[in-house]
């Protein structure tokens, strides 16, 4: 997995993810690429499955079992680098 430079990011995909998160907890505008989604309480374990399925829906592929770990979902940047950029 490589990190995406800012000019390589598909911002439409990121915007959809951010909109989903904002709709779930009413924190639109506060969620940046580097907001800690888990420790800052943007996502909890009950929301995580729906968020994971939404990521799958956007990318058009299942997330493999080995990647169903909180470490891959800590921020929009980590999610993007893991599941969208060069994957």
């Amino acid at each position: 997995m490589s990190e995406a430079h800012d000019d390589q990011i598909d911002y439409a995909a990121v915007a959809r993810l951010r909109d989903w998160l904002a709709a779930k907890n009413g924190r639109a505008g506060e969620i940046t690429m580097d907001t800690d989604l888990i420790n800052e309480g943007v996502l909890d374990s009950l929301q995580m499955v729906n968020f994971l399925l939404y990521i799958e829906e956007i990318r058009g592929r299942e997330i493999p079992e080995a990647m169903v770990q909180p470490a891959y979902f800590t921020s929009l940047r980590v999610i993007y680098d893991t599941f969208f950029h060069g994957f």
């Binding site: 907890n25 009413g26 888990i38 309480g41 909890d44 374990s45 009950l46 995580m48 499955v49 729906n50 994971l52 399925l53 799958e56 829906e57 299942e62 997330i63 079992e65 169903v68 770990q69 909180p70 979902f73």
Partner: protein, 311 residues
């Protein structure tokens, strides 16, 4: 008699009642013990042209989308939805066994220590026979997409939440078990797995109702209303989360349906599913509401206070 004395006496009586119940449950478990490795006759194959799951338990039931599928497609969907149901039972059992293993021989749970042995024994059997079915006839156990990370920091609240989740999942699963055990259109092995699970779970649920009640009584005396409302919010959301586990895109994909995520989204939101969710949750909601633990409707929009986070 002072308030304190009355409270102590009530607590002693409650513990005595719980101890008597645990003794009865232990005796029943001994009387009804079975060897799962000899109990079931597994056919080499299962019919591909008849249902494995009751028609009225399919996730398309009660929606206009049901009629978009042929009888054969609904039959195939039922095969994969049963594998999904048994798969998330497998993962749920793993989780609840970890909870009980944490509590056994730990102070505060003395009354249930002995019964925990039977509980763990029976849950291990269930995990084996559900996984066996999935592997034999589905070729796999669907993996879980659940990730655990805690939000409540207090040990007693975490333990209560864990037991409450066990009770919710057991009561909703039992709704499915009872229906399928009685459905003569299903293969005998499917009916028997559901019947055996239901029979064991009736004891586990009896324990759960009493343990959850006792734990919540202690929490209600200790924590402020705001904390109790956070617990309520979490459990209400868990009920919704649990019934949504039945809508698995991987099962729709395996059943040959295009756009599996769209199927999940539109079925969860379909008006016809609301009544079904209420029926599936009826017993568990009745218990949690009658004990004033959860008064929120899990499916009412706006029922969850914003900013309440738990995991």
């Amino acid at each position: 008699m002072s308030e304190t004395n009355r409270s102590d006496e009530g607590s002693r009586k409650g513990k005595g009642d719980l101890a008597a119940l645990m003794r009865r449950l232990c005796d029943l478990s001994v009387d009804r013990a079975y060897d799962p490795y000899r109990e079931f006759e597994w056919p080499a194959t299962l019919t591909q042209t008849a249902p494995w799951m009751s028609e009225d338990l399919l996730s398309v039931h009660g929606t206009p989308y049901r009629d978009d599928l042929s009888t054969e497609q609904r039959c195939r969907l039922g095969h994969w939805e049963l594998v999904n149901f048994f798969s998330f039972n497998v993962h749920g059992i793993k989780e609840l066994m970890q909870t009980v293993l944490t509590c056994i021989y730990k102070s505060g749970h003395e009354t249930t220590w002995e019964y925990f042995h039977h509980f763990l024994d029976e849950e291990n059997k269930h995990m084996w026979f559900f996984a066996e079915f999935c592997r034999r006839y589905g070729g796999k156990v669907y993996f879980t997409q659940k990730m655990q990370f805690p939000a409540f920091s207090e040990d007693d609240i975490r333990t209560f939440i864990a037991f409450a989740k066990i009770l919710i999942s057991e009561q909703v699963s039992d709704f499915y078990n009872v229906r399928m055990a009685a459905d003569e259109t299903l293969p005998p092995i499917v009916r028997k797995l559901n019947r055996v699970h239901h029979e064991d779970e009736s004891r586990h649920i009896a324990m759960g109702l009493n343990v959850v009640h006792a734990m919540y009584t202690a929490l209600a005396e200790k924590y402020p209303d705001n904390t109790l409302r956070q617990i309520e919010s979490y459990l209400s959301r868990y009920m919704k989360f649990f019934v949504e586990s039945f809508y698995n895109p991987a099962a729709y994909r395996d059943a040959g349906l295009d756009e599996p995520y769209e199927w999940r989204n539109k079925l969860i939101e379909a008006p016809g599913r609301t009544a079904f969710h209420s029926r599936a949750l009826q017993k568990t909601l009745k218990f949690f509401q009658s004990n004033a633990i959860v008064t929120l409707d899990p499916f009412a929009s706006g029922s969850v206070p914003p900013g309440v986070q738990a995991g």
